[in-house]
Symmetry: C2
């Protein structure tokens, strides 16, 4: 495989409110480090492709607000594209695909989120290699499907079809986030998690766009490639909903690499071991905790001694000038807090 | 009344672990301010006696560790006595009584804790005035009994006997902290709270010591008034247990002044209004709180925005390099945390 014909597109526009106050609008999840090291998730994501995609073939798509912060963390050879406005993943993928196709329509394009956690890099690279070989040879939309470790309700699923050649499996359907009953059914039934990781040739995804979202080409061409003009005309939807769910040529490779999307503070519990988290009154991802009669808590307070007395299942986070104390069952509702903070102390949101 | 013959003794040796981390061993409760103002409880206590006892007749008894911090907060005319070791209140009162008796055995001596909260100062002064008149004329041990507002299990009680002249009432017995059933009985039965506030002439309390604790005089006289020598020989007990419970000449005046001993974080809830505390997710004694679906919490974090999400009945305190998160039902057990902090981060305890 010629690495010059491979491009990496990192989607790094997320606002990551669910890790507030550790994450803020100026420093969302992808720019933060979790666990022992001090490398951000974005930097770790990029390093995962060392030896696979050279820096000059790397494209990071982010927001204008984050452009500077992203550029600070990455090599100057990496292209940083700043979206004029957030319009979900479909416009972002379309833009990147057009940019790559201009250089080499035949290039293999890897589309990866910037803020996921992959501890077993060797396993990831091996499966990715298989997927890349497939995408190079065949006109398929390849997605990396994650082998589930539990009946998770927070992820979308891939319903599998026929086994194809080698490790490839046809995808019969993309399934939205299920309720717990459905999730258990999917878990038993061998469904995969949809991790939002894709591998395809630029010309193949552009053709799929033309079939499912022909308005994208019109918006782009009528704007003469000017992003500011094109973006407002493009449909704000996800690549999954806009393209993948409608396509008939979707193939997956099963990824078994400890993947986690780090969707909320509670997701850190599952990977506490690999993060090297201390255990005191629960999981301590950063800082020092003294716990008395306390359990099931998640604490991240790098600069403080946190004392817990008789408390259970709390999320405790100290960062900057803010402290969050949330019941663990409300981890997905931190957005409500962030919305409130924006009103009363916008500099902390 | 000649104010020159009145002395004030403030007992300010408490370690105040129950307000950790706001209170620490170097800055216990009596040196902290609660509520709007920035005056410490000690300073507020002293000011309560302006116009009643001149500075040169004021004696603060504290520990050697706190001597410097106390001296910083008070006028140079005030005498600061540093106990060589904490031996409960009986030795402290004995020492002060001997020191006063040397100057004027006939002097009226007011003994007051440094760390209580008295919002209605006028009512306090009025009742105190009555008690002082009584103590000046009669050889009784006068205590200020607090009119209870609830069946509190955290205080000792005074069982009343006959009504005497004016507002004076004989005390039949000192009763230890009761269980809830007993506390309800006492509340209905017109018992008073024992607030640890006493008024007597120096010679009267010394005579009571000689009757109930004759070893105190022996320890003192055999040490030729040298505190370092006397203290280890003195019985480490409370003035209540050592003297008051055994005396037959105890009289009380009923104090109705919003008194609170500020025994723990939860006691701040009862006086939230007078403290001017904000209400957001509960009572906010300091700092700013953003609360979503949260109630019954007590928050003190002067330098932080505290966000509460789906949490109830917590104590949240940020001070220095420590954060405490405790279930409110465990307010009395913060000592356990402080014991742990002493081991791992003694500078924060």
């Amino acid at each position: 495989m010629n690495s010059a014909s491979t491009y990496l597109v990192i989607m790094a526009g997320g606002s990551g409110t669910r890790f507030w106050p550790k994450s803020t609008s100026r420093k969302p999840k992808q720019l933060l480090s979790f666990g022992d090291g001090d490398k951000s998730l974005l930097v770790e994501t990029l390093e995962r492709f060392d030896g696979i995609v050279p820096a000059k073939n790397r494209i990071i798509v982010t927001t204008q607000a984050l452009q500077g912060a992203v550029a600070e963390q990455v090599s100057k050879d990496v292209t940083v594209l700043a979206e004029p406005q957030g319009r979900n993943t479909a416009p972002c993928v379309y833009w990147a695909a057009r940019a790559i196709a201009e250089r080499d329509p035949n290039a293999v394009m890897l589309v990866m989120p910037a803020d996921h956690y992959i501890p077993k890099v060797d396993a990831f690279k091996r499966t990715l290699g298989e997927a890349m070989k497939w995408a190079q040879r065949l006109d398929d939309l390849v997605t990396l499907g994650v082998k589930p470790s539990r009946p998770e309700t927070g992820y979308g699923y891939l319903k599998l079809g026929k086994n194809l050649k080698g490790e490839a499996v046809a995808v019969e359907a993309f399934v939205e986030k299920p309720n717990l009953e459905k999730a258990r059914e999917f878990f038993k039934g061998g469904y995969l998690w949809n991790g939002g990781m894709f591998v395809w040739r630029a010309e193949v995804i552009l053709k799929a766009f033309d079939q499912s979202m022909p308005e994208m080409k019109k918006a782009w061409d009528s704007s003469e490639g000017k992003v500011e003009a094109a973006y407002p005309k493009m449909t704000a939807t996800s690549i999954d909903y806009g393209v993948m769910e409608k396509a008939r040529n979707v193939v997956t490779f099963v990824l078994d690499c400890g993947w986690d999307d780090l969707g909320s503070w509670t997701s850190l519990e599952g990977i506490a071991e690999v993060l090297g988290a201390q255990k005191s009154g629960g999981v301590v991802t950063s800082g020092e905790v003294l716990a008395v009669d306390s359990s099931g808590n998640i604490v991240d307070a790098p600069k403080k001694l946190v004392a817990l007395l008789g408390v259970r299942d709390l999320i405790v986070v100290e960062s900057g000038d803010a402290i969050l104390i949330a019941d663990k069952s409300r981890a997905q509702d931190i957005r409500q807090i962030v919305d409130g903070v924006k009103k009363i102390r916008p500099e902390l949101a």
